[in-house]
Each structure stands twice: as structure tokens, then as C-alpha cells.
Amino acid sequence: MRFFIFMFLSVMLFGIEPITPLHKVPYNEEKALLGKQLFFDVSLSRDNSVGCVSCHDIYNGGADPRVVSVGYGGRKGNIQSPTVLNAVFNFRQFWNGRAKDLYEQAQGPLLNPVEHNMTPELVVLRVRENKEYIKKFVQLYRDGVTFENVIDAIVEFEKTLVTPSKFDAYLQGKTTLTKDEFKGYQLFKQLGCISCHNGINIGGNSFAKIGFFQNYHSKGKYPDRYAITKNPIDKNVYKVPTLRNVELTAPYFHNGGAKTLKEAIKVMGDCNLGVELSDEQLDLLEVFLKTLTGKLPKIAYE
């Protein structure tokens, strides 16, 4: 009985407002600080050229302004780097969702030959070179420096990267939107953007095909859902990206095909909504999307 009452209530609540405000994720402060240090540490790449932060600049939207990132030995990546901000709320990680969570994700770039090009053993060796690291790991982890613990610390830091925005304040009734912002939000819902970009992360909780109404032509081959499932229906299907801090994460889409936010909105209208958006609509939507730009947590500045 209680279950059904709960069901009914949840249907009512979530049915009414499809976007939920951000909340903090519990984390261990000391591990997070250690993770931050590792996140910024270029020694975690084979040639000491890149750190996590190289492609996930947390001070600039948590993503990479380059179309594709450059990793070990100047090698280029095969996809646009998504933002690390609020990534903890994504239901899957990577564009095609091949990682179940941040722990799986964090290993990916470290071990990827074109990115950090490391091995777990090498990661441990590199970390052990730093006495301060050893001291902290021994302090915080029963088994000291291990690959798993390195990943754990990084993930602990990533958990802190939650960026509450004006729109969250609005949802919580702490502020009001400007007329245009409000109109933009209404339009966002009316046009159907909300169908995919919803939930706490305004996206990041489902997969979608780019180009329902019109093929999204992109040069090159990108790892989509099809690469995993081999089901034709999953061709050009990617994880719906979060729209938080979207103002800062240009270029857009998996291939970095849209250089500006407005361009990206237009592409979405054409390809996925099947609607040619007017300039006025584009402006309003852009105004609304800018309310999603949030503030970094204190730890980012410590």
C-alpha cells in the first residue's frame, strides 16, 4: 500500500517538474584533496605531458575547447571531451556510455594509448615517486598506494565537482528568472528539448540518436552505441549530454561539430526536433541555457 502511495506521489511530483535541482554528493574531503592533486598531476601520463585537467579544465566548463583532445606524444583523440563537471550524476560515462560509473571511466583515459598511455603498474610507480603521495595514501587507505586507490581518490575529487546554477536556485524558489529566461525555459519544454534533457543533470540520463529528422553529417568514425551493441538501431546513438555549463563547453556534439551554442541549438532543432527554429527562438533558448552555468565548489580553488 505504502509503495503505491509513494508511486502515486512520485508520479505527481516528477510529472510536474522534469528537472530537479542539484544536490551535493557525500565525499571524503581528504581523499578528494588528494584526488585533486592527482587530477592536476601530469606525471600520470607516460611522457609527463598531460593530466586529467588537460582535457577537463574545471575552471572552463570542465571540458576541452579543442575539437578533439591531444594526448600522449601529441596524439589526437577520437571524440570531443565531455565535461567532468556534474559528471557524477550521469547514468553512464563516455559518449556511448560504455563505463558504468566514474570509477570505470577514470581508468579509461589513463590507460588509453592515445591519452595518458599508462598501465596500472606504471601509475602506481609514478605515484610512489612522490613521498607526499605515499604519506597521504598510507594515511587514507589501508593498503596504501594501489591503482584502485589512485582511481578512488580521483573519483572522490570528481564527486565534489557539482555546480549549482541560477536555474537551480529558481527551481528551489530562491530566485526568479528574467522574462526572456523564463520564455526560453518554456520554449525548451514546448519544443520537446525537455524530452531528452531532463532530470538532475538536464541530460546524461538516456541515450538518443543524433539526427532523427535529418542526418547529422559528421566526418570520421566515432564510437557510438552501435560500437557496443552492434544493433543497427543504435547507429549514431550517444548519451544525451548534460546541458549544465553548456555555455562554457564549446565546441559541441561528439565531434565538436558546432562551434557556438546557438549553432548547436539550431542543429538540435533541425536534426532532432524536426523544427526549423527562428532566430527569436534561438535567442531565447540560448538565454535560458546560460542560466545553467554554475559555480565551482570551494575545493576547486583551494
Partner: protein, 695 residues
């Protein structure tokens, strides 16, 4: 030995019992753990199932509402996957017998993965279709100004068909052949809308079958079904498992119970044995305290019972001449009478003051009372006496009458005093019931007896039992020829005559020692004074006393040289029936050369028959005749007759109690052979060699 074995068995059983209990506890815990693990497993399974049904509900919600929050649906999918990971990590799957479940669990994994993929695709297509539908629904708003009403209706019809199809989930409703041509007179907006409209309709027609297919796949997902199958299979395995565990526990429990029962059996046996022991003890106690013949209490019981009474008093009963009854009718009849008397006493004395009836000795019964006056006791005793004396006991067709004597006593020592009374009655024979009274002096006499016995004991120990010699003179030669040996005790210089101790001593073993001492000392005297003869007094009962006779003849044989000098004076000759025994004795005495003398002849009822049968050598005429012959003519005649008899029988004659010379003259006249008496000499500690007076 047997006890040791029992102990070993007992310890073994206890040890096995403990082991069984410990194993029982172990298996019980094991079972508990398995049951806990199974619960954990089932919880994980149920979680998957619950999430699955939850998923259906949320999908339905997503389908209906325009807005949806995919966090919700994704959350459910993630929870389901989490449930699966939990299921995989349950401990019970590590157990060998549950590994068979792995195949089905793998199938479940695939099914969950499929459900995840399909749901994601469903979300994707549902979002797109929803958007398109919302767009299509806006046709009325966009085309309400359209002059081409035909087109308007066409559009309306298409939208309606799509909405129907969606509502009915039936693709066949969708009107696929639509022919919408944009005419030149349409406004720019109208043209733009229709172009977009056509795009969306085409999109829906293209996507809808795929959507339906996915929707069907989701609805037909087998997660729940597989979960049920796993559960079923698991339950079967679990029941099997529990069966084995149950059996183990059962066996252990059985062992435990067996041991428990065994212990109970041991306990019962112990209790039984204990009971038997108690019974034996009771019966022993009974037989200790009860008389075997009459089954009434005995003397020991009496001694116990009287201690518990404040004012005890007794009636002590004695059956008169019971020995005669035994002799005449046999002891069987005697026993029967004792039984009857015991029964009768118990019946008659149903008095509230009566404690109990006891058989004290052979024919002695005692009734113990508490707090009763002597008068009442007297009345009761009288009643008893009358009752028993008038009773005709019928035993083996013999009618037997008995009489009893009763002693009443409330003075300590109860039994001893009463016994004295009975003896007193026997002696006096004038009453049947006598109450003990200190004034009877019975107690004193008893005390004297004890003192006498102590005196004799002491004398024997200190060699104070001595012999005195009274000379016997030959009246013809006027010389002393022999001495009568008389026993004396010297107590602190005082000479005690046998009158004072011999009667009492006779009832004890001391008498034999005294006699032995006398014989030994006489033999010693005979050795010291070979010129004299000596004579020792023996009662008839002494001759019947075999050990004493053995002693006598033993000493005679050891001193064969002087034995012939020692004569025997026989006392109390009346009442002896076994002539042969006496005859043999006399013959034996003669064989040593000793003579036999009958003492106190002429007193009592002297039996002349002896003299016919036995070879008596000498008679000693009783002193009561001798000391009166001077004054009493009758006695003198008696003496003359005795002398005549003796001379006729060729018997020598001794006269004793010869106190004056007058008597001697008469005796001389009558040709008496020997005289003895104070005229010549009283008994002296040593043989007198010369006579002081002239005869």
C-alpha cells in the same frame, strides 16, 4: 568392579552427550547460516523482480505524460543491475550445490541487459515521437486560417489517425497514404508548417513500428519469469539442503535423546537400588528391633523407646514354669503359646498410655507405659492376669492353661528392678503381682551381689582365695587323720566364710575358678603334709559340670602320688536323677584311691537308694543331729539308727559339729569312727598337728 564399569559408562555417555550437543549446536548454526544466506539470495532476487514491475509502471507513466524525468527510469534500471550484482555476490552461490543456478543467472543477466537496452531505446523513440505528436497537435493553431478546407480536414484526419494508433497501440490506424500538396496561395507560414508537418508524419510512420516492437519486447521481457524459475530451482535445492542438514540435526538429536534416556534409565535404576537398600535397611532395622518369633518389639527396641518417655513405667510378665511346658509339650507348642500371649497382650492392653509390648527374654514380656499411675497399672496387671490365667490355649488339640506373674515398676532401672521383683515373687510365692518398692530391699541385695562378685574377682586376682583346714579325728586312736578343706577369702585381713560369697559366685564363671583354686591348694597341702588325708566339698551340680570335672581329674592325674589322699564330700545329694553319672564319678574317684563321702547325712530327704547303687565310703552325719544328741532323745535314736545302717553297709561314720566332751562320750559309745568340730579345732589356715585337749 561393577561400580567402576558403571562409572566409566556414565562418563562416556556424558562425554558423548556433550559431543552430540556441540555437534547439534554446530549443525544448527550451519543451518541457520544457510537459511540466512538463502534469505539474502531471495531478497536480491525479489529486488530484481520488484524493480522490474516498478519499471513497467514508470514506462507507462512516461508514455502518458508529456514531461518525463529519465532519472527515474534510469534509477530503476540501475537498481535492477545493482540487485543483480548483489545476487551474484551472495554467499550461497559460492556453495557447490547452488552452482547449478549459474546458468539461469547468466540468462537473467542477459535478460536484464536486454531490458536495459530496450528501455533506453524506448525512451529515445518515445521522446522523439512525443515531440512529434505535440508538434502535430498544433496543426489547428497553425492552419485555422487556411482557406483550403479540404487540406485542413486531411491534416486533421491524419493527426486523428496517429493519435488513435498511439492510444490503441495499433499501427493499422495510421493513415499511410496521405497526399498533401502545397498550393501557391498558401501563406509562407502555412507552407512552412505543412512542410514540417509532413516531415513529422513521415517520421512517425517510420519510427512507430520499431517503437511498437521495442515496446512489445519490454512488455514481454522475461526477467520476472526467470527470477521465478531461479527461485523455484533454488527452493528445490534449498529444501534438499535443509533435508540433509535436518537429517544431521535429527540424528544428532536422536543420539542426544538416546543418551538422555540412558541417563534417565541409570537414574531410575539408581533410585530403585536405593529404594531396595532402604527397604533392606528398614527390614534389618525391623529385625533388629523386633522379636523373630512373635514379631513384637524386643529388648533393644525397649531400651530405645523408654529413653523417649518422660514418665516411663512397665509391667514385666513372666509365664510360670514355662520350661515345664516346653519340656512336656515340646518347644513348638511353647513357641505357639508365646505367640498367642504376645497377641493377647497387645489386644488387652489397648490403653492410651501403652507405648508398646516387648518380648524381653524367653518367657518374659514387658508392657511399656508413659505417664500412668501405679494404681492404674495394678488394675491393668490384675486384668491381664485374670484374662491370661483363665484363657485356655488350644494348641495342636491340647488345651493348655498357663499362669503368669507380673512385676510393676516405675523406678529406674526399669527392667532390672522388675526382674528382681519377679525373682522375689518366685522365691516368696505368695502373690502373683508385686509392685517394685525400694523397701523390698531387692535393689540392695542386687548391689550386694555385685559387691560380692567384685570381691571374689579381686580375691582370685590377688590369690586371696585360700583354704582352711578343720581336723577330723579318729575316735579310736585319738589322732588326727585328715582335714576337711574349707574355702575362705581373705579381704584386707578379714576372713570371709563361703556363706557370704559362694551362692553368688555359683551363678558366675568365678565359681569354677574358686573350685579349681581349692583343688590346687589342697593338692599342695597333700604334698606338704603327706601324713594326712584331705577332703574337698563338691556339690552334685559340680559333678554335672563337665569342664570342672575335667579340671579336677586333670589335676589328680598330674599329681597321681597324692591324689589318693584327697577325698570328696558330696553335698545336696537329693534331687539327682542321673545315677549313672554319679556312679561313674565315684568309680573314677576310687580309681585314684580316693574316698567318697556323703555330707550332711540325716538332714533333708537323704536318699537311701544311693547307698544301694553306689559305693559310698563314708557318711558324715548332719550337724543338726549331732549337736542335740545330748538333750534330744529322738535325735539320739536317729543317730543310733544311722549308725546301725552305716555299720550294716560297712560305711565309716564322721560326726561333725562336735562341740563338747559330752557329745564325744555318746559318740564313743555308738562306735562312731571320726569326729570333727570346734571341740577339737575350728577351721584354721594351716593343718593342726596336735590336739589341745584330752579325750
Amino acid at each position: 568392579m561393577n561400580k567402576l564399569r558403571t562409572n566409566v559408562i556414565f562418563v562416556t555417555v556424558v562425554v558423548i552427550g556433550f559431543i552430540a550437543l556441540a555437534s547439534f549446536y554446530f549443525f544448527y548454526n550451519q543451518q541457520k547460516r544457510v537459511s540466512q544466506e538463502s534469505k539474502e539470495f531471495l531478497v536480491a532476487l525479489n529486488k530484481i523482480k520488484t524493480e522490474e514491475s516498478y519499471l513497467e509502471l514508470v514506462i507507462l507513466k512516461n508514455y502518458i505524460y508529456a514531461y518525463n524525468n529519465n532519472d527515474e527510469i534510469t534509477g530503476i534500471l540501475q537498481d535492477m543491475q545493482k540487485g543483480y550484482s548483489e545476487l551474484l555476490s551472495t554467499k550461497i552461490l559460492q556453495r557447490n550445490r547452488y552452482k547449478v543456478l549459474q546458468t539461469r543467472i547468466k540468462t537473467l543477466s542477459k535478460e536484464i541487459e536486454n531490458l536495459f537496452l530496450n528501455t533506453q531505446r524506448w525512451i529515445m523513440l518515445n521522446a522523439a515521437m512525443k515531440n512529434s505528436l505535440i508538434f502535430l497537435a498544433s496543426y489547428d493553431n497553425e492552419l485555422h486560417g487556411l482557406k483550403d478546407k479540404e487540406l485542413y480536414f486531411k491534416v486533421s484526419k491524419i493527426v486523428t489517425s496517429i493519435i488513435y494508433a498511439k492510444r490503441m497501440s495499433d499501427f493499422s490506424y495510421i493513415q499511410k497514404n496521405f497526399d498533401i500538396k502545397i498550393k501557391k496561395d498558401y501563406t509562407k507560414e502555412e507552407k512552412f508548417f505543412i512542410k514540417t508537418f509532413k516531415k513529422h508524419v513521415r517520421f512517425i510512420i517510420r519510427v512507430y513500428p520499431e517503437f511498437m516492437q521495442i515496446d512489445n519486447a519490454i512488455r514481454k521481457n522475461k526477467v520476472s519469469q526467470i527470477v521465478d524459475k531461479i527461485k523455484e530451482h533454488f527452493t528445490l535445492l534449498y529444501i534438499d539442503d535443509s533435508d540433509i542438514l535436518d537429517m544431521f540435526v535429527g540424528i544428532l538429536f536422536l543420539v542426544f535423546i538416546t543418551i538422555y534416556v540412558y541417563l534417565i534409565v541409570i537414574l531410575i535404576r539408581y533410585v530403585k537400588e536405593h529404594k531396595k537398600l532402604v527397604e533392606t535397611t528398614t527390614s534389618l532395622k525391623h529385625s533388629l528391633l523386633h522379636d523373630g518369633l512373635t514379631d513384637i518389639k524386643n529388648r533393644i527396641a525397649f531400651d530405645e523407646d523408654k529413653k523417649n518417655l518422660e514418665k516411663p513405667s512397665i509391667i514385666l510378665l513372666n509365664i510360670d514354669r514355662f520350661k515345664d511346658i516346653n519340656d512336656v509339650y515340646g518347644s513348638e507348642v511353647g513357641d505357639a503359646i508365646l505367640k498367642d500371649v504376645a497377641r493377647l497382650l497387645a489386644i488387652v492392653c489397648e490403653d492410651t498410655h501403652l507405648e508398646s509390648v516387648y518380648r524381653i527374654g524367653g518367657d518374659e514380656f514387658c508392657l511399656l507405659f508413659n505417664d500412668i499411675s501405679l494404681n492404674e497399672l495394678n488394675a491393668l496387671a490384675y486384668k491381664l492376669l485374670t484374662m491370661i490365667n483363665s484363657q485356655h490355649f488350644m494348641i495342636n488339640n491340647n488345651e493348655i492353661n498357663i499362669s503368669i506373674t507380673a512385676a510393676i515398676n516405675d523406678t529406674q532401672p526399669l527392667l532390672e528392678n522388675a526382674d528382681l521383683v519377679l525373682k522375689y515373687i518366685k522365691k516368696v510365692r505368695n502373690r502373683n503381682i508385686v509392685t517394685y518398692d525400694d523397701s523390698l530391699g531387692l535393689q540392695k541385695k542386687a548391689q550386694e551381689n555385685i559387691e560380692t562378685i567384685n570381691l571374689v574377682k579381686k580375691a582370685l586376682k590377688n590369690d586371696d582365695v585360700v583354704i582352711f583346714f578343720q581336723p577330723i579325728m579318729n575316735l579310736y586312736t585319738k589322732t588326727i587323720e585328715k582335714f576337711e578343706v574349707l574355702v575362705r577369702i581373705i579381704d584386707e585381713g578379714e576372713v570371709i566364710p563361703p556363706l557370704k560369697f559362694l551362692d553368688v559366685a555359683q551363678k558366675t564363671s568365678l565359681y569354677q575358678q574358686i573350685t579349681k583354686t581349692v583343688i590346687e591348694k589342697t593338692i599342695q597341702a597333700a604334698i606338704t603334709y603327706p601324713q594326712y588325708r584331705f577332703s574337698i566339698n563338691l556339690a552334685m551340680t559340680d559333678i554335672l559340670n563337665e569342664p570342672l570335672m575335667d579340671e579336677l581329674f586333670g589335676l589328680f592325674e598330674q599329681n597321681i602320688a597324692v591324689a589318693g589322699k584327697i577325698d570328696i564330700e558330696l553335698l545336696e545329694t537329693e534331687g539327682i536323677e542321673d545315677m549313672k553319672l554319679i556312679k561313674d564319678f565315684i568309680d573314677r574317684i576310687h580309681s585314684f584311691g580316693s574316698l567318697v563321702l556323703v555330707d550332711d547325712f540325716g538332714s533333708g530327704y537323704s536318699n537311701f537308694a544311693y547307698f544301694a547303687e553306689m559305693e559310698i565310703d563314708i557318711i558324715k552325719i548332719d550337724g543338726s543331729i549331732i549337736n542335740e544328741i545330748v538333750t534330744n532323745k529322738r535325735k539320739r535314736h536317729m543317730l543310733e539308727s544311722i549308725v546301725k545302717f552305716a555299720k550294716g553297709m560297712h560305711l565309716k561314720i564322721v560326726a561333725e559339729f562336735v562341740d563338747d566332751i559330752e557329745i564325744v562320750k555318746i559318740l564313743q559309745e555308738l562306735d562312731i569312727d571320726y569326729i570333727q568340730g570346734y571341740l577339737i579345732s575350728p577351721p584354721r589356715p594351716k593343718p593342726l598337728e596336735k590336739v589341745a585337749i584330752e579325750i
